[in-house]
């Protein structure tokens, strides 16, 4: 499992705009580089990032080879109700890493 750092407030007021910051360890290998033997290093990137808030999609991003290693994605959403915020990153191999964080809205 890749290492992940997620920063979001544990508590928020209802209707408050909150910032969510995510960082995941990933080489984001472009597929354009050559290895020591001259053979192309196969492409290996995260293709899709998705964030849902109590099941509802609040943010989605498509990623491309020009994005640097260890992609950092920050975005805003409105704190509507207490519950789960789920983050998932899907890579070229179709594997998905999922992380869940709780938020309390008062």
């Amino acid at each position: 499992m890749a290492r992940v750092l997620i920063n979001l407030p544990a508590r928020a007021r209802r209707g408050e705009i909150i910032e969510i910051k995510t960082l995941i360890a990933h080489p984001m290998e472009t597929g354009y580089r050559l290895g020591p033997t001259g053979a192309a290093i196969p492409r290996d990137i995260i293709k899709r990032f998705l964030c849902t808030y109590n099941g509802e999609e609040v943010f989605r991003a498509e990623l491309f080879p020009a994005i640097a290693a260890n992609p950092f994605i920050a975005f805003f959403t409105v704190a509507t109700e207490s519950g789960e915020i789920v983050f998932s990153w899907t890579d070229d191999h179709g594997e998905t890493q999922t992380e869940v964080r709780q938020i309390t809205v008062e």
């Binding site: 290492r3 750092l5 997620i6």
Partner: protein
């Protein structure tokens, strides 16, 4: 004629003894980095070096080698046992009589106490564990002393720092003592204080050691870089740490 001679003499003295940076003028590479890079370093959830620290924390508690022991089994909680350690390295290892940097110290510990194979130089695991250990000293002043039994190593490092080398015939000192703050192409020349190693360098897109950075600079002046772990490389590391004595450690720093 006399005036000319005097001017020549002054110029010769200036060329022979490049001005060392006064303690009050010393500045970390952080000060030369752009606002975006500084913001990235300041926020632990945006600093990609923290991914290495996180990985190192896992390795600290992982049992390894024939002894089936983890770092934590001997050293306990790194927050207390490793606090201030990185600020004292490179250090002399009395048993072997040679100078070890933090990476080499960790690898020796692996061999002697865990019975495990050493991590490869510049491998992700070695950088992560080093970053985790150095992170425990974040904010503490660099405490490397350049005297006593370390004197001869510092002298060697100093000599290498001031020696012209490579096809460009430049010494480290000509850029980092004499011309810091000016620009080399688009980049500002920093003062070469190793305050945040291992650093996350955006150009590398990964953590990297001080030795890797030194090799980078050496190939920049078209000199043959020292091998990883070469006595010259570690002496240079020691000289730079002694030169930065008193400055705060920032590991894991973010640099362009």
């Amino acid at each position: 004629m006399r005036v000319l001679l005097l001017a020549l003499a002054v110029a010769a003295v200036a060329a022979a003894a490049p001005a060392e940076i006064a303690p009050g003028d010393r500045r970390s590479g952080y000060d030369f980095a752009g606002p975006e890079s500084r913001a990235m370093q300041d926020d632990d959830t945006a600093n990609p070096g923290m991914l290495g620290v996180l990985q190192g924390e896992g390795l600290w508690a992982t049992k390894a080698g024939g002894a089936d022991r983890s770092c934590a089994d001997c050293h306990g909680n790194a927050r207390t046992s490793m606090k201030g350690v990185a600020a004292r390295y490179p250090a002399l290892e009395p048993a072997v009589g040679s100078l070890l940097d933090l990476e080499e110290r960790i690898n020796r510990c692996r061999g002697e106490h865990q019975g495990a194979a050493p991590f490869a130089w510049e491998s992700e695991d070695l950088l992560a564990l080093t970053a985790f250990v150095a992170y425990q000293s974040r904010g503490l002043p660099i405490a490397v002393r350049g005297d006593g039994e370390l004197q001869s190593f510092v002298d060697l490092g100093s000599e290498l720092f001031h020696r012209r080398q490579g096809q460009l015939n430049l010494s480290c000192s000509q850029c980092h003592d004499d011309n810091w703050g000016k620009r080399l192409a688009g980049a500002v020349i920093p003062q070469a204080h190793p305050t945040g190693y291992p650093v996350y360098r955006l150009e590398w897109q990964s953590l990297g050691s001080l030795q890797r950075r030194l090799r980078n600079c050496m190939s920049g002046v078209r000199a043959e870089p020292y091998e990883y772990g070469a006595p010259e490389a570690v002496a240079l590391e020691l000289y730079l740490m002694a030169r930065a004595r008193g400055m705060a450690l920032e590991t894991p720093a973010v640099r362009p």
